[in-house]
């Protein structure tokens, strides 16, 4: 028996209302199927299909066993009356640091002399190998409805491979849904210690690495066929790392960065996802043409708190800030796939406020929900198991007493891999800056 399941059972025991408790006590076999729940009389936002105004979702063995208007409750399941409640797929943070140790810095050593020294490269590392299940932010965001995060190591130009993790569990391995979904590329610089010291160098470096990776792959294949008489290609973990990741995440916040990264993407000849996206509205024609998915940051740009009040800001900067919330709506309208991500924000209230801003700026509410459920699952190739309420998918759900992103809405339950969680009644006192807040 899984410890997690016991924990869930204990959790349920402590919080279930009387009728459900009676059912459990009447059926001694329940202990063998602690992960079975029936959510009845619920409004079900499936995302993959039309909303079911009054329906049932059955959860069994960590998976969604059934969903529909007329679904019989299986024997031995916990029945939860969801009258007046709405069931959503669990929310997904599409680019996250939740559950990872604090930022890893670039390696030391002598200054790099060029791309061949592989500076600021940890492409072979995987977020799945670094998960800290006890990270307190996990509970905080789970209580708000987040059940999944696509977490990436960071701190380097080739920061490493991202993993899809479920936000509950006491063993890191059980939390992993997919271990390598993308390579997180930043365009940071060496800070003056060796190559690359500028954006020029960072971009050239990325281009050279992918060329090297292609060459490495080809050379290895030829060598395997003709090991006699050919020089042996040198093993290169940096290239192994970029070859292992099916997607490349490139930073693009402003329109010019979108243009640059789409150009780079054509050179790389790889599947690319852009992150940042605040100026996707201005860059919409380019994005539409390229059909490149965009991860839109929910940390909208604002005037820095310590800005010099005497300094006049250019019109262009003001426009940039003003238009940021409308980026998601523009992407939706243009039919470009996009998802939201936390971008270092760990307070779900701030994230939901940003979502509301995006809706006020023209994003349809349905599209907002999709951008935090099915869309990220599709972008990362895990839509066959996550992102919507469908039979057979992982039972990651959130049950709320209203529209999930509305200010007054309260989350009643969150299900992660079929285990049920209830948020703390009171929001805990604001902790000092969370460990993982810096991206």
């Amino acid at each position: 028996m899984r410890r997690g399941a016991f924990a869930a059972l204990y959790d349920s025991f402590m919080t279930l209302k009387a009728p459900a408790l009676m059912i459990m006590m009447a059926l001694p076999v329940v202990a063998q199927t602690p992960g079975s729940y029936v959510l009845q009389n619920a409004r079900v936002v499936r995302v993959s299909g039309p909303v079911i105004e009054r329906g049932t979702v059955v959860i069994r063995d960590g998976l969604i066993d059934a969903v529909g208007e007329n679904v019989a409750a299986p024997a031995g399941a916990w029945v939860i009356d969801c009258q007046g409640l709405t069931v959503y797929p669990g929310l997904i943070d599409a680019l996250s640091r939740w559950g990872l140790p604090s930022e890893s810095e670039g390696r030391g050593g002598p200054p790099a002399r060029g791309p061949e020294d592989r500076p600021l490269n940890a492409s072979w590392t995987k977020a799945a190998d670094q998960i800290v299940p006890t990270d307190r932010v996990i509970q905080r965001v789970r209580d708000a409805g987040f059940t999944t995060a696509v977490v990436f190591p960071n701190g380097n130009i080739f920061s490493g491979q991202g993993s899809v993790i479920d936000l509950a569990g006491d063993r890191a391995g059980r939390m992993v849904v997919a271990d390598s979904v993308g390579q997180y590329v930043t365009l940071r610089t060496s800070g003056g210690r060796g190559f690359p010291a500028s954006l020029l160098g960072s971009i050239a470096y990325v281009r050279q690495i992918y060329l090297d990776a292609d060459n490495y792959q080809a050379a290895k294949a030829i060598y395997e066929k003709h090991p006699q008489g050919l020089p042996r290609p040198a093993y290169d973990r940096a290239l192994e790392g970029v070859l292992a990741a099916p997607l490349v995440l490139l930073p693009a916040e402003q329109e010019i960065e979108i243009a640059r990264m789409l150009t780079l993407a054509r050179d790389l000849k790889r599947k690319v996802v852009l992150y940042g996206g605040h100026e996707a509205g201005r860059g919409i024609d380019l994005l539409k043409q390229a059909q490149t998915p965009v991860l839109v940051s929910l940390k909208f740009p604002v005037k820095p708190r310590d800005a010099d009040p005497a300094e006049e800001e250019p019109l262009r900067v003001l426009e940039f800030r003003d238009k940021a919330p409308s980026a998601a709506g523009a992407l939706a309208q243009a039919g470009v796939k996009f998802a939201f991500y936390s971008d270092g924000v760990t307070n779900p209230k701030d994230l939901f406020r940003a979502v509301r801003k995006a809706v006020e700026a023209g994003l349809k509410a349905d599209d907002a929900t999709r951008a935090m459920t099915l869309a990220p699952a599709e972008i990362y190739g895990v839509a066959d198991r996550l992102g919507s309420i469908e039979k057979g998918k992982i039972a990651n759900l959130v049950v709320a007493d209203g529209d999930l992103f509305a200010e007054k809405t309260k989350v009643k339950y969150t299900f992660v891999d079929g285990a049920k969680f209830e948020p703390l009644a009171e929001e805990p006192a604001q902790r000092p800056a969370a460990r993982n807040s810096a991206r």
Partner: protein
């Protein structure tokens, strides 16, 4: 998708070619290559369609009254660092793998200001932090368009070299020891260039060998593509222009000799404040010189300069241009050219050539731009007086026949922009006040 692309292409074409013909009448037209014409110039379909005393206006033309006004070709700056987000990759002594085209910022306000000063084309260079710098390109100041659309189509790409104090500075302490790198002397600068081209030749040989082997059907590992060496091979093959930052006559001679030895050409010597001392050698190599009118003494290697540099070199037959290297100077290159009338007694046409047809020749774009000739790009300036007068201002700028700058409209539009800004500031302040943090 295909339909979309087609529409996008049509959209572009329409924007680029949709301008009504422009006929500037009764103006003094300084063609630079064919003397002065009192009369009219017609801009049609992005090109100069006619120049003459009388030119008939095609249907739908915009007529511009040029009475008392002057028309000249758009100014070309052979050395600029505007419109980029990064200038130097100075961490390494050879940074030929980096490309200025990767960091273009088409919204840099310096572009608009350069336009207001009459500049229509600029050579966007990497900085001078290392002996061999990054890949460069030629851009038109098509303000409002994206970076791709601003590239001068078909212009030969370039690469920046640098000699002397700047590239050797990083080899000398004090400062961050981690930032130290070879070379620390002029000897080292030469060595870096020699070594890089030796490497480039070996790289080329490796590829030639691979191609020969695969052609014979023998198994062979493909050489790894090296983005640092590829542009140097292009230099060796004459497919990429070298723009070399330099000051002293000794280093100029050094570079010309190294280039002769390795079999490549230096297209332009940039700054080259001591070029007047070695004009015959420069002419023999076939290099051009792109210099300042009277800007010097800002460092030791820039001490032995004279304002006659451009004039002396011109008289010796070297193709000379005046460049800005600076977002402020780029706004008055016309006045820089005027200085050569005083220093060295160049003619008005020779002076104007320094900022128009000569830089065009240096960048090998003189078939398209650099003078007012029928068939050339309609990159045209309208002045309220003679361009070489300190009192004259640029009134209008056309690039490819499209008006990109209008002084009156700019001034008229300022209150509206100001109001727009105030409204956004107010909105942002309101949003902040309403938020709980």
């Amino acid at each position: 998708m295909k339909v979309l692309l087609l529409l996008a292409a049509l959209g572009n074409g329409a924007v680029f070619g949709a301008d009504a013909p422009v006929l500037i009448q009764n103006a003094t037209i300084l063609t630079v290559t064919n003397g002065t014409v009192k009369g009219s110039i017609l801009l049609e379909n992005g090109k100069i369609a006619a120049i003459g005393e009388r030119v008939a206006a095609p249907a739908g033309s915009t007529i511009v009254d040029g009475s008392g006004k002057y028309v000249m070709p758009g100014i070309i700056d052979c050395h600029s660092h505007i419109m980029v987000d990064a200038i130097n990759e100075g961490s390494v002594s050879v940074s030929s793998m980096v490309q200025m085209s990767d960091v273009l910022d088409p919204e840099d306000i310096a572009i608009y200001r350069a336009l207001a000063g009459g500049v229509t084309t600029a050579n966007i260079l990497h900085g001078s932090a290392n002996p061999i710098g990054g890949q460069t390109l030629v851009m038109k100041m098509r303000w409002g368009r994206n970076a791709e659309e601003m590239k001068l189509e078909g212009a030969m790409p370039g690469i920046k070299f640098a000699l002397g104090e700047n590239p050797k500075r990083r080899g000398n302490g004090p400062g961050n020891p981690g930032a130290l790198r070879y070379p620390a002397t002029r000897m080292g600068v030469e060595d870096v260039i020699r070594e890089a081209f030796t490497e480039a030749k070996a790289y080329k040989a490796k590829w030639d060998d691979y191609k020969a082997k695969t052609a014979r059907g023998e198994p062979a590992l493909p050489p790894a593509r090296d983005l640092k060496l590829e542009p140097l091979v292009e230099v060796l093959e004459g497919k990429r222009l070298v723009h070399a930052h330099c000051y002293r006559q000794d280093e100029i001679l050094m570079l010309l000799r190294v280039a002769d030895e390795f079999g490549f050409k230096i297209r332009t010597l940039q700054h080259a404040l001591e070029a007047y001392k070695v004009a015959p050698e420069i002419l023999a190599h076939g290099a051009g010189v792109s210099t300042f009118a009277d800007w010097w003494a800002y460092k030791i290697e820039a001490e032995d300069a004279i304002p006659y540099n451009a004039a002396i070199l011109t008289r010796k037959g070297v193709v000379v241009s005046l460049n800005s290297d600076d977002p402020e100077l780029i706004r008055h290159l016309d006045k820089e050219a005027a200085k050569t009338l005083k220093y060295g007694g160049l003619s008005e046409t020779e002076a104007l050539s320094l900022i128009t047809i000569n830089p065009a020749k240096q960048l090998m774009i003189d078939k398209r731009v650099g003078s007012l000739e029928v068939g050339k790009d309609a990159d045209v300036l309208l002045y309220d007086g003679h361009p070489l007068s300190n009192l004259s201002k640029v009134l209008k700028v056309w690039i490819d026949g499209h008006e990109y700058f209008d002084r009156d409209q700019d001034i008229e539009g300022r209150p509206k922009k100001e109001a727009e800004k105030k409204a956004l500031e107010k909105k942002a302040a309101g949003a902040r006040g309403g938020e709980t943090e």
